[in-house]
């Protein structure tokens, strides 16, 4: 295998465009409501309650947000572990998006912690409870945010011409990358394991000791899906040469991951003997089948070569995959979670504004970073091999 000599360049271009202005405007209400949250408390801005104690700040911003940020993880697995160098050109944009996604996921945690000033207890030996799944999640995500920054560092060092430093960093990059594969495998599975201790409050269609495996596999799938999704949008948005053949290949990898996920999901249901519950009408079973339908659609498109090579179909497959795995998270924490009381939870407008603001900020930061830093392959040279 010969290696392409890759070079990257900032996209440059105007920073103030209609898109960036809209994104910036969307962060304003979030800033206002965040201020209120920290002055008047969580109850002042959110509909969180003691029936549904975790709302969209946790499930959307952290659970789904970090899974959307698994592109860097999923690609690193392909590029470095399975040595598929041809995917390397996709690596930098993925790492950039992952760094932002995780950093903001971490920020969202702080927003959601009632006693946020004690956050450090999670990392402190005298306080930390190693039996708690959330302890693992907290520690692991904190470290991973730094790992992602280290993975992004070469891009920044290159930008400022600090090649000596970059060379130095590259010497230990292997360890950084290895941790960058290990850590998400750990905490993305734990995000599922967190449900186990909630026990019978989680519907049997969702409560299983295989939660860690199902969560990490679906995070991996979301990682590949987001590479396709974001690759397509960036390609159009920044008018880059189309990467469709490469993205279609990612699509094929994705297809196998999703298929494995579906097999494990149904085998688990059958093995635990709760499959019949999926056929009892109700909220949970309905959502379950919507999820499965979305997964199935993604798999179908991705397994048919002629279909997955059509950019638009590939995009639809990736989008439906992202929707399916997001729904899986929403369903397991909201729909399938029933503590017994009549729980009423629907996010309030300020609550949603904060989530929207965080997402907008993330996209805005991505646009600015790729315009200023060498994230995307330089035009024309990306496929020089």
């Amino acid at each position: 295998m010969s290696l392409a000599h890759e070079s990257y360049a900032p996209l440059r271009g105007r920073l103030v465009t209609p898109v960036t202005v809209i994104l910036a405007l969307l962060t304003l209400p979030a800033a206002w409501f965040l201020l209120q949250r920290f002055i008047y408390g969580m109850g002042a801005v959110s509909n969180l309650n003691n029936g549904q104690a975790w709302g969209i700040w946790i499930v959307f911003d952290v659970l789904i947000g970090t899974a959307f940020a698994c592109g860097g993880y999923a690609l690193a697995l392909l590029v470095y572990i399975f040595n598929r160098h041809e995917y390397h050109p996709l690596m930098r944009p993925a790492v950039t998006a992952s760094m932002l996604g995780y950093a903001l996921g971490g920020a969202a945690v702080i927003v959601d912690l009632g006693r946020w000033w004690n956050f450090w207890h999670l990392l402190w030996p005298g306080y930390a409870n190693v039996n708690s799944v959330m302890f693992e999640v907290g520690v692991c995500i904190t470290i991973y945010i730094f790992i992602l920054m280290l993975e992004f560092a070469p891009i920044a060092l290159e930008r400022f011409g600090l090649m000596k430093w970059k060379k130095l960093l590259n010497k230990v990059m292997f360890a950084v990358i290895a941790l960058g594969v290990l850590l998400p495998s750990m905490h993305q599975s734990s995000l599922g394991s967190m449900l186990i201790v909630m026990g019978g409050q989680v519907h049997p269609l969702y409560q299983t000791v295989l939660l860690p495996l199902l969560y990490v596999l679906s995070a991996l799938a979301m990682g590949y899906a987001i590479v396709i999704f974001e690759g397509t949008i960036s390609g159009e948005g920044f008018r880059l040469p189309r990467e469709t053949p490469l993205l279609a290949k990612v699509g094929r990898v994705l297809a196998w991951v999703v298929l494995a996920w579906l097999v494990i999901r149904f085998a688990d249901l059958a093995w635990r003997g709760v499959l019949p519950l999926a056929f009892q009408p109700g909220r949970v079973s309905t959502m379950f089948w919507i999820e499965i339908a979305l997964y199935a659609m993604a798999v179908l498109i991705l397994f048919i070569p002629t279909l997955r090579k059509i950019p638009c179909m590939l995009f639809i497959a990736a989008a439906s995959m992202l929707a399916a795995a997001s729904l899986y998270r929403i369903d397991s924490y909201f729909v399938a979670y029933n503590p017994g009381d009549q729980i009423h939870y629907f996010p309030s407008i300020p609550e949603m504004s904060i989530t929207i603001g965080i997402a907008s900020f993330e996209i805005l930061a991505f646009i600015i970073l790729v315009r200023l830093f060498p994230v995307f392959p330089a035009h024309g040279k990306s496929k020089a091999a």
Partner: protein, 332 residues
């Protein structure tokens, strides 16, 4: 660079260990931790729904003992209408009503009371869930306590507790606390005990060592319905126990709620109405804390798996990363 068969195998193993080590969770696990067992000097409450008159003295008594604001002035404390647990109510009496409620302790066209407060689980989900040991179970007496100093306000305990006990104060920005019954252990120093039991006129809520309470519960279940029996009120282990008047033995359900639920609890309940109809959840005998911790420690025990996975991953990335990273971005 070509991949030799051996390095490919290493690759599969390395990534397999990292990505799919979670799979072992499904297999029979080597170090499965079983349910925890009752602490040696476990204390708790016995609540007998059939003896409860719904006077709610315990609701008010609990608030006073724990420095919580009363919902009505003391002169009219009997009007307290707290229906559900909240950050300022650690104990409420709830009511089961069916049809035209004309008789107490009857499932059809009847009514019954039940006490909703922390069960002080033998193997509590809240303690297992709490990432910072803010919730702890005392190794001696088994009381489950919360620490204001440690808590980060993540509300995992609220999500985890099958009995819907911990209540978080969303209205506070600077001191949002988790509120749950701590069995009035702050009164022990003054020689006092659980206020709810202390004020209960009939002995429906009785305080004491769990083993004594359990024996008493079994005794009541063994009595013949319709016969007369006496019991004690306040605390069961008092030097001079306060005897109650004679009661008629009700049609008890032959089950002590809390004997096995969630691995057992230090609050035990008796009732003549089906416990689940009263609103108590069905909780399996194997504690969910033990399942969760078994899964977690199988994956992470002493970080052995992660360490092996990391070593495997690094062995691979040591080569792949160098090749790749040195080639890229030489020019800007």
């Amino acid at each position: 660079m070509s991949i030799t068969r051996r390095s490919f195998l290493a690759r599969i193993l390395g990534s397999g260990a990292a990505v799919a080590s979670a799979a072992t969770a499904g297999a029979p696990v080597a170090e499965a931790r079983g349910n925890k067992t009752l602490p040696p000097k476990a204390v708790g409450l016995l609540y007998d729904s059939t003896l409860c008159t719904g006077c709610k003295a315990c609701v008010v008594g609990c608030k006073i003992a724990n420095g919580k604001p009363l919902s009505t002035p003391m002169e009219t404390a009997y009007l307290d209408d707290t229906k559900e647990l909240n950050p300022d109510a650690l104990n409420v009496i709830q009511m089961y009503v069916n049809g035209t409620p004309s008789a107490k302790d009857r499932e059809e066209n009847g009514f019954a009371f039940f006490k909703h407060s922390c069960m002080h689980c033998v193997d509590p989900s809240c303690v297992s869930a709490c990432p910072v040991q803010a919730l702890q179970k005392d190794a001696e007496n088994g009381v489950v306590t919360w620490s204001r100093d440690a808590c980060i306000g993540c509300r995992y305990c609220v999500m985890a507790c099958a009995f819907r006990i911990p209540k978080f104060r969303y209205t506070s920005a600077f001191d949002p606390d988790i509120n749950k019954c701590q069995l009035c252990n702050h009164l022990w120093a003054e020689g006092k005990y659980s206020a709810c039991a202390y004020v209960c006129p009939t002995g429906a809520t009785l305080y004491g060592p769990v083993e004594m309470l359990h024996k008493e519960a079994k005794r009541r279940l063994s009595l013949k319905p319709g016969e007369k029996f006496r019991t004690v009120r306040g605390r069961i282990d008092a030097k001079k126990p306060q005897r109650t008047r004679a009661y008629t033995v009700p049609n008890y359900k032959q089950h002590i709620y809390g004997e096995t639920e969630g691995g057992g609890t230090q609050m035990l309940m008796l009732s003549a109405v089906d416990f689940h109809k009263l609103g108590l959840p069905k909780v399996q005998r194997r504690s969910w804390a033990s399942i969760s911790e078994t899964v977690q420690h199988t994956l992470y025990s002493y970080l052995v798996f992660p360490a092996i996975a990391l070593a495997g991953l690094m062995a691979i990335t040591y080569r792949t990363a160098r090749v790749t990273e040195d080639e890229e971005g030489e020019e800007t």
